[in-house]
């Protein structure tokens, strides 16, 4: 039995310092009130213990001022907890724009990780240090939960939609990945390791990694294999909307709604095409539910993202795209985008 057990988790991400600060604030206030109440109870029990059966204490009904005091003060302290916690939570839900894209598919009892430029890992995640990494996650069966204690980051992985979360590792090393939402027999074995590497090591890992094709080129292959191009062609007589430059662009639907084309829209249009029909087109696209798995959809999405730009550059380089008209505007309500923020294609990475 390891006797040198830690009492406090590693602190390996930018978010960890903020969460720990709030945690210690909560801890001190709670310790103060717990000790105060415990002390008062014990002190009164001893100080006013029953010495004789005849003594009848004075009748004290209460005091309004005291009641107000111990309502208002706890309320004030509680709201301070709320605002601090809320600020951290909102920033946890705002992935920076230049974050490294990683796609994670949870499947009963393993994590399948795919990097934008093709690396595939099982229960392993290699990320560079001091670089924001955005995770786009979905599940193939039941609800899982991607939890890295050292980064204080946790997000449920819900089947049927994308959930996004992000972190920025600040210390190299290997940290636990846990599945934190009960998902069946081997829920406790659905664990892994995230390895935070120095930039040099990360580059060598990238190079030495799988020589397979990038996500986008795998998507191109699938696109041809399922004969998507019979309808989705750039020329005029195409029966399906043109996909070039679609990602991040405003799309007008047949029912007058408008939304920004993001991963969730592309995923839903593949699996349930008639849910959102582009204005001017007929609902003739068949569903690919069951024909294309979650990884396939991720590859197709990566391929569609790479369309409408000069041929896909190196894995790292995100070629500049035309600034999407809406930029950072909040998408109109009603467009069911994924839980996390839909990443905007902004300035290229320098």
């Amino acid at each position: 039995m390891r006797t040198d057990f830690p009492l406090f988790p590693d602190r390996a991400s930018t978010m960890a310092t903020h969460v720990d600060a709030l945690f210690f604030y909560l801890l001190t206030v709670s310790a103060f009130f717990s000790v105060l109440i415990a002390f008062l109870v014990v002190y009164f029990a001893i100080r006013y213990r029953r010495r004789s059966e005849e003594f009848v204490p004075p009748r004290i009904e209460g005091s309004l001022t005291l009641e107000i005091v111990w309502t208002v003060i706890p309320l004030g302290i509680a709201l301070s907890f709320f605002f601090w916690g809320a600020r951290i939570f909102v920033s946890m839900n705002q992935p920076p724009r230049d974050a490294l894209q990683v796609y994670i598919v949870g499947k009963q009892w393993m994590w399948k990780v795919q990097h934008a430029d093709g690396q595939k890992e099982i229960n392993e995640l290699h990320v560079p240090v001091n670089r924001p990494v955005q995770l786009t996650m979905t599940s193939e069966d039941v609800i899982h939960d991607f939890f890295i204690p050292a980064f204080r980051m946790k997000r449920d992985v819900v089947p049927g939609r994308y959930e996004t979360a992000w972190f920025e590792a600040t210390r190299a090393g290997r940290y636990h990945i846990f599945c934190a939402q009960y998902c069946g027999t081997n829920h406790s074995r659905m664990v892994g390791w995230v390895s935070v590497l120095e930039p040099r090591e990360y580059q060598s890992w990238l190079a030495g990694g799988a020589a397979s094709e990038s996500l986008a080129s795998a998507g191109a292959r699938l696109f041809a294999q399922h004969a998507c191009n019979t309808c989705h062609r750039p020329d005029s007589l195409a029966r399906g909307p043109n996909l070039e430059g679609l990602y991040g662009r405003l799309v007008r639907l047949s029912n007058g709604q408008t939304l920004i084309a993001d991963e969730a829209y592309i995923r839903e249009s593949i699996l349930n095409p008639s849910a959102k029909i582009v204005a001017g087109y007929q609902p003739i696209m068949p569903t690919f539910q069951g024909l294309i798995g979650e990884e396939g959809i991720l590859q197709l999405t990566a391929y569609i993202k790479s369309l409408g730009k000069p041929s896909a550059g190196g894995p790292e380089m995100l070629p500049p795209t035309s600034q999407s008209p809406l930029g950072g505007a909040v998408p109109p309500p009603g467009a069911p985008t994924p839980g996390g923020a839909s990443p905007q294609k902004g300035a290229p990475v320098r």
Binding site: M1, G62, A78, D156, P159
Partner: protein, 547 residues
Amino acid sequence: MSAAEYLPPVEPEEPRDNYLNVAYGVRSWLLTRDHKRIALLYLASVTFFFFIGGLFALLIRLELLTPAGDMVQAETYNKFFTIHGIVMVFFFLIPSIPAVLGNFLIPMMIGAKDLAFPRLNLLSWYIYMLGGLFTIWAIVHGGVDTGWTFYTPYSTLSSNSHVIPAALGIFITGFSSILTGLNFIVSIHKMRAPGLTWFRLPLFVWALYATSLIFVLGTPVIAITILMVAVERTLHVGFFDPALGGDPVLFQHLFWFYSHPAVYIMILPAMGVISEIVPTFSRKHPFGYRFIAYASVAIAVLGFLVWGHHMFVSGQSVYAGLVFSVLSFLVAIPSAIKVFNWTATMHGGSISWKAPMLYAMGFIGLFTVGGLTGLFLASLGVDVHVHDTYFVIAHFHYIMVGGAVMGYLGGIHYWWPKISGKLYPEVLARFAAIIVFIGFNLTFFPQFILGYLGMPRRYHSYPEEFQVLNVFSTAGASILGVGYLLPLVYLAWSMRYGRNSGANPWGATGLEWKTTSPPPPENFEVTPVVDEEPYSYSAPGEVRVVG
């Protein structure tokens, strides 16, 4: 100040006909409509289920002694914690105080002969037992492994265990809660003795009134949710199945709409018990009576607005998370008011350290820790890290075991003379209370540390660095187990061999102490008329009512 000094010099004789000796035989118990006998039926069945749940708790703790999880397979462990959860939540914590102490005491506390609908009251016990039968059937035939939360799509699509029988068991038992709640609400509104206004009611009645509001307003929603899971699982339709257009998060909304108020069903009655014990054993009017009363109802109402704090990371929107977080902080305020008022009641009192008071003091301390750790979970930033970890397990066990079970045991000891007419052995009872307190803290405090370290809940095997804290927790669990066996032994012993207690051994106020112990079948010879304020200790001269 030895215990013997308080006892009345001459032992009061057993009252002639009380509800226990007025009729004998199995039929007189199984077909009774006397709320006191129904309370004892509930006492027996609730105790039975408590020890089943406790057994599975010990099995879980034994399994977690080793990181590799090599005592049982993962499948079996998942069934252990599911059955521990279901049995403890639905068959012990929810019915225990309302159905046992509430059934026994509310008619007496409001000066009535019985509850408004005695037959529905007996039906409520039979429904509870039928639901229990389904759950036992599920356990015996292989158990269910979905966790007591039945999250979809695992419970509807993926689990191949006995989900439907267990779900039906909970569905049926829900109606037992609804009937109990309905009975209490109607009785408290319509059957109070003349002169007994709302603000002359004991605080226990206020707490159970608030609990009954939750019974009636919350339980139907879990009933329909379980029905939808059963329909989806058997007919393969798509309420919550993403492949068929359903949304698993909708299940979580429906589930937690009931299940959060359910945790207030579990704690409010215990608060009611403490609000009775502390004034009696401090011999003092409760500090801020109206604030404690209003706080109970406020908890019941606000408790319905906060369910989203179980779903901060489950795909609920950021804005909904913000709203539920601020509401969750508001619901913590009434609980804080109650703790401050209990402590203030002890100030300037004449405090006796009898067993019920030990349980009450333990309750105040542990419930405070439980409540404050709830604030960690309500603040969004920290919850993202500690959600679904052992921090949550420790939090709700401090409230459920440190709070509700301590309150239940305190209440059982406090009203035991009224229920059985006998006095329990005081020294042994105090010893048991201390054992429970120590065992409890050793079991659950290490889990706070494990939680922040990131150990997820419901893990059959865990990384090595968590082992030492888990060993402490298992050691504590065995002490706690022993602590709970003691009352079972000496209370049963006292039924037969205990000294007669007389009508009011504690010198307490309240209508239930004005009738004999054990009380006659119709509670009072003459329906009492109430003409004084509640908890009137300071009436000069009336030191202690003898026999």
